[in-house]
């Protein structure tokens, strides 16, 4: 049950439209925004889905590069609520 976050660097000077577009994906939440970059966390159900999503992001024409920040692959869904 991967949770992976990263800093996404955009090719364009305004990262807003790309962040907004990606945020429509239910697996993605967007965090701190800057003109050329923004924070992103992806929450996927399987490692395969996670891998596919990040491949998709890496191949995205508006994304310059991705810097991985934190990756969690533990089965956190089974944990009791805090």
């Amino acid at each position: 049950m991967p949770i992976v976050s990263a800093v996404v660097y955009t090719r364009a000077g305004d990262s807003g439209p790309l962040a907004a577009a990606l945020a429509r994906d239910p697996r993605i939440d967007v965090g701190g925004m800057h003109p050329d970059r923004f924070a992103l966390v992806a929450d996927t159900a399987t490692r395969a889905e996670d891998k596919a999503l990040w491949r998709e992001l890496a191949d995205h024409p508006d994304i310059l590069r991705i810097e991985l920040v934190i990756a969690q692959f533990g089965d956190v869904l089974s944990q009791e609520a805090m």
Partner: protein, 801 residues
């Protein structure tokens, strides 16, 4: 967003990315985006991370009396919003399913619940049995007030000096190294060195895993295009080595020869700093009869002669480091334009020559003049969040008193008695037992045979798993029935397993606290959630026992006016019964103890500011000195005129606690000598032990965080591929790692995360099911008394299915 664990993780991950993307301060330490997402029901406050000695600040999000989120604190100068994987999960350390919630007394071999009143009475009974045989074993995880209260209780109350922290196992050699060199403990530099250096040299440590935020602080500069050279010296390849420009693998113990080899080359190349040396250093060597940290004077000519044998060829032969690499090191130190930061930690400290090796690193910096400029300093790191703030500064060591005072000195005892309002002569002049001696005494049945320590109260640490050669020092199988072990902790551990009395403690943001990190930064936080069940603050536990003794008429718990040793009054001058748990938070006990302790801090130019200054900041580096306008100014670089207010104007640099009384630091000579145990025919491999990034020390907290436990579920033995082939080992095979002292069974990881050279294996110590300290040596440094966990001889035996 509901505050379940998955949301917690997502927020932590997103905050990490946000911090990484931001790298700029907001008006508060919380990222506005994160705060917005968490909603108005979450209350945020600052706290230093509970784990290592880096001292990162986190923002703690609390809702309904639970920590529901952790964010990197963007206002914190240490970490600027970044956290490591342990830091992001620190909130979950509170919520393991098996928190201790009630006092437990062992009856007929079983731990049974008792009341706090009964527990306190049991401890008071043990004290009254013989106060001089009652010991406290604490840690660098004690908050400053916790360590201070324990110190005052024992030394000021019981006239007993048997108190020592687990920091003895961790950084004691750094302390003796600093004192032998500068006459006073703790680094002159600070983390700013990492921002301004040209070269980082890691002397046997692995900050990529053990201090990842500091590691990223200088690696981040490289990613921004700055030129920064990393030279990693180690006995095995690690994650730090993977990023290094130069990896210098050396044979265990030969680091002394390498340091001497650098000094030899600086002399031979005539690249040492004559001006700095002429003005600021003396040369020292150990006295032949009774060696001390002060040593005896050595002429420059004699010192030079002593280094003559350490030619590159000779050092290369001892260490295995190439002649070219030795020249590389000497050339860097010989270049006055380079700014060089040396980092070291357990590899140098957990060493039977730890004091010597510490002084030699200082010697290389001082002799080459790489000292005192930002980026150009020798900086030892610590492993625990308050090893510096509590163990070292409060002085919770068997020979010390707060503020760098010594129990053996009449004047120092008199000062402490004055501050504590005690009758003259209350403090015992005889140093107590250091860690290894304390546990050896506790494990020895008869007082006349050295077993006078009858009771040890363990606070905030887990010696059952960390004591070296644990069969000898803390073996429940040989425990004398008359000996008694008390353990205050938050979870069941290897120590509570054998304890006679277990006390449930509040942890981290379940109580007020103050830590002091590796760069002399004192950091404060407030209680943010209630502890579970009947868990209570460690300071309260100490005060409650003191009060029980006071009420029984125990003289030591009275000051010279007959008042309670821990008397605290309200604003109207009425005594507040802080020994009653329900009244404990009527006043801020931490603040009272801190303000009392602060008096000591000025005695050795480690001045602390008032408590309120720490409330308002993300920590301040001492000495913190009040300015003419009433503000408080911290000090980044000690002994340097441009920043340290205690340096005489015009001196440039001044070592104002010089052991020779002339304002100079000491450059030592220490010869290389072989280690006490080396591989042989019976035990042909070196064993090194250490930590991993996922777990903190004995894993009692990180092991209860599912994400960290799943990332690294068990200990392993790293084996070189060549050795594995010779022993027909495959990954995952179980092997017995065996020394002359004990054995453990552990799975094999060929070339592992680190990569040991042929003839060397590595086992981390976090896993309580695989207690590698049953195997390690208890031989220790003669000055620091710190044991050597980094090298002993072992053999591997495959466990056949």
């Amino acid at each position: 967003m509901s505050p379940d664990r998955r949301s917690f993780l997502k927020l932590a991950a997103l905050s990490a990315a946000t911090a990484a993307a931001t790298k700029a301060s907001a008006s508060s330490g919380i990222d506005p985006e994160l705060a917005k997402r968490m909603g108005p029901g979450v209350r945020w406050d600052k706290a230093p991370c509970r784990f290592c000695g880096t001292g990162c600040h986190v923002q703690v999000g609390v809702q309904n009396n639970k920590v529901v989120a952790i964010a990197g604190d963007q206002e914190a100068p240490v970490n600027k919003g970044l956290l490591c994987m342990k830091g992001y999960h620190v909130g979950l350390a509170l919520y393991g399913e098996d928190r201790l919630t009630t006092p437990l007394l062992r009856v007929d071999g079983e731990l049974r619940p008792i009341s706090w009143e009964e527990a306190i009475a049991v401890i008071a009974d043990r004290v009254e049995l013989d106060p001089g045989g009652f010991a406290i074993y604490g840690s660098g995880q004690w908050t400053v007030p916790e360590g201070y209260a324990a110190q005052k209780f024992l030394k000021g109350g019981l006239s007993c000096n048997h108190i020592d922290p687990n920091a003895r196992l961790c950084m004691a050699s750094a302390v003796t190294g600093f004192i032998a060199t500068y006459g006073v403990d703790e680094p002159n530099g600070c983390y700013q060195d990492l921002d301004e250096c040209d070269v980082v040299i890691t002397w046997g440590n692995n900050p990529a895993e053990m201090h990842p935020v500091l590691f990223s602080r200088f690696m981040d500069r490289r990613s921004r295009g700055e030129e920064i050279t990393l030279i990693d010296m180690s006995t095995r390849r690690t994650r730090t080595s993977a990023h290094a420009d130069h990896f210098l693998r050396f044979r265990p113990q030969s680091d002394l020869a390498i340091a001497n080899g650098i000094l030899h080359l600086l002399l031979r190349n005539d690249t040492w700093d004559k001006e700095f040396v002429g003005k600021h250093v003396n040369f020292r060597t150990l006295e032949k009869d009774k060696p001390t940290l002060k040593g005896e004077a050595m002429s420059f000519e004699d010192w030079k002669k002593a280094l003559e044998p350490y030619t590159p060829d000779y050092v290369s032969e001892i260490s295995g480091v190439s002649v070219e690499h030795l020249h590389l090191l000497a050339d860097l130190f010989g270049d006055p334009e380079k700014r060089i930061t040396s980092l070291w930690c357990m590899g140098v400290n957990q060493h039977t020559r730890g004091t010597a090796m510490n002084t030699l690193i200082h010697a290389v910096h001082l002799f080459s003049g790489h000292f005192g400029r930002p980026g150009d300093n020798p900086t030892s790191l610590t492993g625990q969040p308050s090893a510096c703030g509590t163990a070292r500064e409060v002085g919770t060591l068997a020979h010390a008193l707060p503020g760098g005072r010594l129990v053996a000195k009449d004047e120092h005892r008199a000062q402490s008695e004055d501050f504590w309002n005690l009758p003259a002569g209350r403090i015992n002049p005889k140093p107590g037992k250091h860690t290894v001696a304390m546990w050896k005494s506790w494990s020895t049945p008869k007082a006349e045979e050295g077993g006078e320590v009858h009771t040890i109260w363990v606070q905030v640490t887990n010696p059952g798993q960390t004591m070296p050669n644990s069969h000898l020092l803390i073996d429940p199988g040989v425990k004398d029935p008359d000996k008694f072990l008390i353990c205050s902790d938050v979870y069941p551990t290897a120590t509570t397993e054998i304890a006679d009395l277990v006390l449930p403690s509040a942890m981290w943001v379940e109580k007020n606290g103050i830590f002091g990190n590796s760069e002399r930064r004192t950091q404060q936080w407030f209680k943010q959630v209630e502890p579970p069940g009947d868990a209570r603050d460690d300071v309260w536990q100490t005060i409650a026992v003191a009060r029980e003794l006071f009420e029984r008429g125990f003289d030591g718990m009275k000051d010279k006016d007959g008042h309670f040793l821990f008397r605290m009054d309200d604003a109207q001058g009425r005594e507040v019964p802080v020994w009653e748990w329900r009244r404990y938070y009527d006043i801020n006990v931490d603040e009272r103890l801190f303000e009392e302790y602060r008096l000591f801090s000025r005695l050795k130019h480690k001045d602390l500011a008032p408590y309120s200054e720490y409330v308002a900041s993300r920590g301040l580096r001492w000495p913190v000195v009040q300015q003419d306008d009433g503000t408080w100014r911290e000090t980044r670089f000690r002994f340097a005129e441009f920043d340290d207010p205690y340096v005489t104007k015009g001196a440039g640099h001044e070592f104002y606690h010089s052991t020779t009384g002339d304002g100079r630091a000491q450059v030592w000579f220490h010869p290389y000598t072989p280690p006490p145990e080396e591989p042989d025919e019976d035990y042909p491999l070196w064993l090194c032990t250490g930590r991993v990034i996922e777990h903190w020390h004995t894993g009692t907290m990180t092991g209860r965080i599912p994400q960290l436990r799943q990332s690294m579920p068990s200990a392993y033995v790293e084996v070189n591929r060549q050795d594995a082939q010779a022993l027909t080992l495959q990954n995952g095979d179980l092997v017995v790692v065996e020394s002359r002292r004990g054995r453990v069974t552990v799975p094999v990881w060929i070339d592992g995360r680190g990569s040991p050279p042929p003839g060397t294996v590595f086992v981390p110590f976090f896993d309580e099911r695989i207690r590698i300290n049953e195997v390690t040596l208890h031989e220790h440094d003669p000055f620091s008394k710190q044991p050597d966990y980094k090298k002993c001889a072992v053999r591997l035996r495959k466990v056949e299915a």
